[in-house]
Subunit: 458 residues, 2 copies
């Protein structure tokens, strides 16, 4: 079904303004990680609030201990209408290294249909297309088929440190029946995508202490356990030869995705050779019995994120290190929990740790895995809306990484979360030359405008 003609007419007429306005937002270097940019971050918050007021929402800039949270509201829908919450973020990653950008990161430039700028796709473009979708309804029709809350935070790129508490503290204000987030990518150009799963995380530091201080490897080598060697022996026990995680009980809570989900994954346009070339690894490797996408989306992992011990400079230094450290993290799949994996990891390391050293496992950081229940009216409406805007049935995708805020919304507000993103592979979200497809920016606002109609239609 095509987009309602009044909305289509509005978008067609206002296209260049919608782009110019986004460019204004992109020019504000709202780098949340750098305190010298705090005035810019505050300016971006005010800009977003003002852009909502301009189209008829009320908007409040809420200070937090970090960067402010902007909340826009429009609650004049017909009695009985749903309330939806749109989440996005107005902060961006640092732009460094600047010399690798082909055009200035905070001067948006269109080349080959791509809007190049820091924050273009992550997440200013994807946040602002929602505001433009609301504007289409409110301008073309003077109303919206749903009540709307827009929550734009300024700390997503620094871990959303204050967001969960903000949601908790404003549970009544943010009460809703659905959460919509556009901060992800489509699986391929032209292929609209609903992101249905995120992996969780249990991140550990393993510290191995041998002698009190570094020793001379000649005068002492051979007579005490070398902590770096002990650490290597511990890490080598974490997988079997087939790439299965060998921590006892690790897979006990993993919920099987079923043959349907695996079949659906196999229909996606994915090429192992292309993926391998993208990583630069000499060949792909992973758990036996699973395809690459299955390994990333539906299987848990155990990875070393860092190693440090002894002498690491140039040349040779004959030190027997006093200690060795590894950062080790597991990506989790429902129904694994960080607490359970912490317990299993500690038990495993205790079992395999060599004698002659003291080993400590610290759980640094955890996040729950998430998987959408795709059988609700929210997802049906999203499928129809995406098909309307992109003239193609959307696919369901997964994601190997974690977005902790998704779990927070679902847990605190009790509403289903729809992850529908308009980025594209290769968009350089955290790298130099970040870009967003101009076409997706315009189609995304159409899709989201259609979504509110579809959701109201039920």
């Amino acid at each position: 079904m095509p987009l309602a003609s009044d909305l289509e007419a509005f978008f067609a007429k206002n296209q260049s303004r919608a782009r110019d306005e986004l460019f204004d937002l992109l020019r504000i270097p709202s780098v949340s990680a750098r305190s010298e940019h705090n005035p810019d971050t505050a300016r971006a918050a005010d800009w977003v609030a003002e852009s909502m007021r301009r189209i008829g929402l009320t908007a409040t800039v809420h200070p937090t201990k970090g960067h402010p949270v902007v909340v826009g509201e429009w609650r004049k829908a017909k009695p009985g209408a749903q309330t939806v919450l749109i989440y996005g973020h107005y902060d961006v990653q640092p732009a460094e290294p600047l010399e690798l950008w082909d055009s200035p990161p905070f001067e948006p430039t269109v080349r080959d249909g791509k809007i190049y700028a820091r924050g273009s796709v992550d997440d200013k473009g994807q946040l602002y297309l929602h505001i433009k979708a609301l504007e289409a309804h409110l301008t073309a029709r003077g109303t919206l088929p749903v009540n709307v809350i827009v929550l734009a935070e300024g700390e997503e790129e620094v871990g959303s440190e204050h967001l969960a508490a903000f949601i908790e503290d404003h549970k009544d204000l943010l009460e809703c029946g659905a959460v919509v987030i556009s901060d992800s990518a489509m699986f391929a150009p032209g292929l609209p995508s609903i992101l249905s799963s995120l992996r969780g995380l249990a991140y550990f530091q393993i510290d191995v202490q041998g002698p009190t201080t570094d020793l001379h490897s000649g005068s002492y080598g051979g007579a005490v356990m070398n902590p770096a060697m002990a650490l290597a022996r511990i890490l080598a026990t974490m997988h079997d030869a087939d790439g299965h995680v060998a921590i006892e009980g690790f897979y006990d809570k993993v919920r099987d995705w079923g043959e349907d989900a695996r079949k659906q994954i196999r229909t996606l346009p994915f090429d192992d050779a292309h993926f391998r070339a993208e990583t630069g690894s000499p060949e792909l490797f992973g758990e036996k019995g699973y395809s690459t996408l299955e390994r990333i989306w539906m299987r848990p992992t155990c990875e070393v994120n860092g190693l440090l011990s002894g002498y690491t400079g140039e040349g040779a230094k004959t030190v027997l290190p006093a200690k060795a450290m590894a950062k080790v993290s597991c990506r989790l799949i429902p129904n694994q929990t960080p607490d359970e994996i912490e317990h299993l990891m500690k038990k495993h390391v205790e079992r395999v740790a060599p004698k002659g050293v003291t080993v400590t496992v610290t759980h640094l950081h955890g996040g729950h895995p998430w998987r959408a229940d795709l059988d609700g009216p929210l997802f049906d409406a999203a499928r129809r809306a995406l098909a309307t805007a992109f003239a193609r049935e959307p696919v369901v995708t997964g994601e190997g990484g974690s977005i902790p805020v998704v779990g927070d919304f679902q847990r605190i507000l009790g509403a289903p979360v729809l992850l529908v993103g308009f980025g594209l592979p290769g968009e350089n979200a955290h790298a130099p030359n970040e870009w967003m497809s101009e076409e997706n920016y315009f189609k995304g606002m159409r899709a989201m405008a259609a979504l509110w109609d579809e959701l109201a239609a039920g």
Copy 2:
């Protein structure tokens, strides 16, 4: 047998002067590793040359591409007398961290019979006691029973980079029948020691390359081989559970020391509990079937000296590292050679390296192991001379570390090398509060004066 009475009388009379002169040398901060100390290092070389001229030697300061080599000579012994070469070094380790010194490193201070100063035992005190032993002969008797060459270098603490070439280039000048080096420690206070063995070294860097750049451990984790995990798996294959090195062929060339040498080691006053406490390790660990001293002196090892990969800062960063690096070194025992071990190490790593990564082994640095043949007249003379000065039969000890210059002397000059040191356990040779026993300084010069008589007596 007591020391010859004329020599004893000389030493007794000149004791405080011998200490004061050493203190002058210790006051020169001849730190070879720091170019800002180059004038001090040059001054120390001149000082040593002048101290030799004063007692009747000729002395030349030879410039090198690094710090100078001082060569003193006295060649007026009776026809047919032996020529001996005494080696020592006038450079010292850096004194940092200065705040850990109880008295200034370059202001020698005696407390509890210990001369505290940087370089006191390593090696200025041990070099200068030789010069004082020569002085005793030349002053008390006007002659020496052997021809003498004294070679004092200024780069021992930075790897003796130019020494082997200097010896090669001056083979005729340095031609001798015996080399004597005092740059080591006695096994225990009051227990004179002859050091009979040094381990060699083959030092490697293992580099594991996975993806081209660091990847997001969520978006890619599980689908490519993690290079840090691959490195851990490689390192874990280097030993079996009993602490034997598991590299194929590793022990093939190791010469058995025989039951006599092992018996002799077992007679030494050594306490595992004390050694463990000194290292601070929770318990001792090493190759099954060998005692601690045997593990350090007569068995080869394979140790990790350093590890580096990915994120090593505070907290959690979810990176899948592009590469991982280990420094790995083997201590060698005759007749192992660095070249042979390089070959075996490379073959082993190639065999065990997991798929999905590229592994490179680089041989950074090597040194041959050394073991003295203790059955010659040089060692018999040394045993008698040490017994004279210390009133106790010397013991034969080993050393787990390497002194490459020993092999160089033996190889280039073809002369046996006697390692007889007067340091003591706990002397902090490369640490703050370095000290030399005042008693050993005075007994050491008596022992070395006795040595020349014993050697001439045959």
